[in-house]
């Protein structure tokens, strides 16, 4: 292995999808070669930074890069949004972590991405398609402005449904509406994969449960090392406890205790608010008035600490399922 990462991991491309959602493409040839759908990385912005798990949204073996899609919600992701530019480096990008998706011999699969969850579900859609499966894609956003990767996703799908909470694009309603339509139309769905905020994954699992359709969800608990060492990411699956970082992150959606997961995601809520406020204050002192990052959006109320591989900020109101937040 060469020493190109000694000073960190270089960002080679950035794309902003909205005020809050952005993409970083990172130079990491070994990771590009090793990554498989379903896996995640842990990133660290700088030497005072925290370890943030993010699901790999794409990887390009020829370019030697991996792609992450990030939602600026709390202190760390907003700082990433502000400071990550092409040519800058992340202190650490470690992985690929977790067990890759087992594509099995699935012939017909529904892939559901909610908000930022569209990013991690994309490599799975592509892999199922390449594997010869019939792919039904369902993606949902709060509103039209937040939509990203619609064409990229659609290109891997045999059927495609887009939903929005406010009806500004596609079906008006939650992704569960799309799931119900797909189930009505197809009696032979082998598997449904849902990635998004826990409340969305829970709703997706409840929608498929009466039909007995195998449902895979990718969990996003708070974690530190991501290598099975801290146990912070423990989740209740059926009667047992699993570590999402090494046993998952994908689990049987019908077995997951989502209420327990959602409670545990609240662990550092107060601290996150404090970190964000302090950071905003520091920025205000450092920057000219008009670049105040706090003006970019509401203060994060949701957990971002070590957050979710998928939805760095889906609790802060940028994505809603029309259900009460949290537990």
């Amino acid at each position: 292995m060469d020493n190109r990462h000694e000073a960190g991991f270089e960002i080679v491309a950035r794309e902003d999808f909205s005020d809050v959602t952005f993409l970083l493409e990172i130079d990491h040839p070994l990771m590009a070669k090793a990554a498989r759908p379903g896996q995640f990385v842990i990133t660290i912005l700088h030497d005072h930074g925290e370890r943030i798990p993010l699901t790999i949204a794409d990887f390009d073996r020829e370019r030697g890069t991996v792609t992450l899609v990030i939602q600026a919600a709390g202190k760390s992701t907003r700082e990433m949004q502000q400071t990550c530019r092409v040519g800058t480096r992340l202190l650490s990008v470690t992985g690929p972590m977790g067990e890759p998706t087992d594509l099995g011999d699935v012939r017909k699969v529904v892939l559901v991405g909610g908000g930022l969850g569209v990013a991690p579900v994309f490599p799975q859609a592509r892999a199922y398609k390449e594997n010869g499966a019939y792919v039904i894609g369902i993606i949902g956003f709060r509103t039209k402005e937040l939509v990203f990767w619609e064409d990229k996703f659609k290109a891997c799908c045999d059927e495609f449904i887009i939903c929005s909470d406010d009806g500004s694009v596609g079906i008006k309603g939650l992704v569960t509406e799309g799931i119900k339509r797909a189930i009505r139309k197809h009696g032979d769905i082998d598997r449904l994969v849902a990635i998004g905020p826990p409340i969305m994954m829970k709703a997706a699992a409840e929608t498929t449960r009466p039909h007995g359709i195998e449902t895979v969800v990718s969990l996003n608990p708070i974690m530190v090392d991501g290598t099975g060492m801290c146990g912070g990411c423990r989740v209740k699956i059926g009667d047992g406890i699993k570590f999402a970082c090494v046993d998952g992150p994908e689990f049987d959606g019908h077995e997951v205790d989502f209420d327990d997961l959602m409670n545990r995601l609240q662990r550092y809520k107060a601290d996150e608010k404090l970190a964000f406020e302090k950071w905003s204050e520091d920025c205000r002192q450092q920057l000219p008035e008009d670049s105040d990052p706090a003006a970019a959006g509401p203060a994060a109320s949701g957990p971002e600490r070590q957050q979710p591989q998928v939805d760095a900020g889906m609790f802060d109101g940028t994505y809603r399922m029309g259900m009460p937040k949290g537990k």
């Binding site: 202190k75 530190v224 801290c230 537990k327």
Partner: protein, 500 residues
Amino acid sequence: MAKKTIRTIPQDRTLMPVQDPAERARNFAEVALGYELDAALNESERCLLCPEANCVPACPVAIDIPGFIEKISKRDFRGAYDVVADANLLPAICGRVCPQEDQCEGVCPVGDTLEPVAIGRLERWIGDMAIAEGWANLPYTEPNGFKVGVVGSGPAGMACAADMAKAGCDVTIYEALHRPGGVLRYGIPDFRLPNEVIDAEYANLTRLGVKIECSTLVGRLFTIEQMIDEMGYDAVFIGTGAGSPQFMGIPGENLIGVLSANEFLTRCNLMHAGEFPNYDTPLHLGGRVAIIGAGNTAMDAMRVALRLGADKVHCVYRRTRAESPARVEEIDHAEEEGIEFHWLTAPVEILDDGEGNARGMRCLAMELGEPDASGRPRPVPIEGSEFEFEADTIIYAIGTNANPILGQTSDLKLNEWGYIEADDTLATSMAGVFAGGDIVTGAATVILAMGAGRKAARSMKAYLGIRDSETVYRPAQSGSDGKIFGIDAEERNFTRIRAA
């Protein structure tokens, strides 16, 4: 000089100054301050310099203990360091964290009548001096063309890496975290082992030519098989540690406020959660902290919690102090700092405050029964002894399981508990791949892991056909450079064998 006897040596073990308990319980500065020169000289006089010393075989890395102590007493400090560094690249670390009372000091004959020689304190003193003076024991090595990969930068990996580098191999260590050191970094807190000491002793590794690649998760980024088949490694050592924390499986363990000692210590030691929000990683410590378990990790967790401002820290252990696996000094220090110990107490449930947070535990009082498989008396619950124990942060320090990643990603043979199977030479089921430390034995100590790393290095050298030698390079003390063709004639261990 007349032969020393038990009657002629200084009778009292030389005390090591420590920070005042009330003061230190609120800071992260080192607790034990180490010997000064006079203290070290005095203590070195207490060694009887036994010709067939018990302490040497009792040391997992077989340091020539009387040899280095004799050099201290003769004020040849550099010579003393060279003797230690022969066997142990990390004297400043091991002097601090080894359980000497169970090893070298436990078999010291002085201890039959008096307190044993404070071998650990002397080792630390000489290690600290080497750091202060910038000494490094760098042998002359001739590259032999072999490429060795080491997985994990903890004590096992570093000991193996050092020996292989000294033998002339091109060594690369891969570390999954973003900083090297393994358990020394994420596990052992600063007041017991300052980060600067780790950095200084690790710098010796890089001076030996060892490369350390952090943020590299072996198994997932590339596999052990790929290291051998595609990346050109002639041999691989696995020292990944045990690492996966155990919970008890009692109700309420997923409540907010319940965490493993690994998570707690990693947040604090590696990620600086104690300095939140200047560092981004939060901790959210409660006022009333209970630590379950009484090993070294438990002691570390308790004392970190205290230093981070917990009002009260409790230790809950189902056996008694006598059965506690912690170093005696750590229990003493914890007690002095005001940790409250609840021996013979076992939690049976974590209690919910109604909002998903832990508010305490339901516990049972225990009594000691017949010895169990570990040889220690089995704790038996006393019927009807249930009581509630209030705590808002509950930390599990009851041991670890094998980390599953290498098992998931390679064909290495594992035992029934998921640890890597290795034979007496520490060879695994895969040719050229060796393993040692906690990932083979289950959780043990830093020094045992280092011992395993060195043992694996010996086997690895045999496997590669590299001549092994008991002696290492000693820099000429005379000041004259007696080298011929750049090779010191006195030096007996430079490597002549090259890869075919």
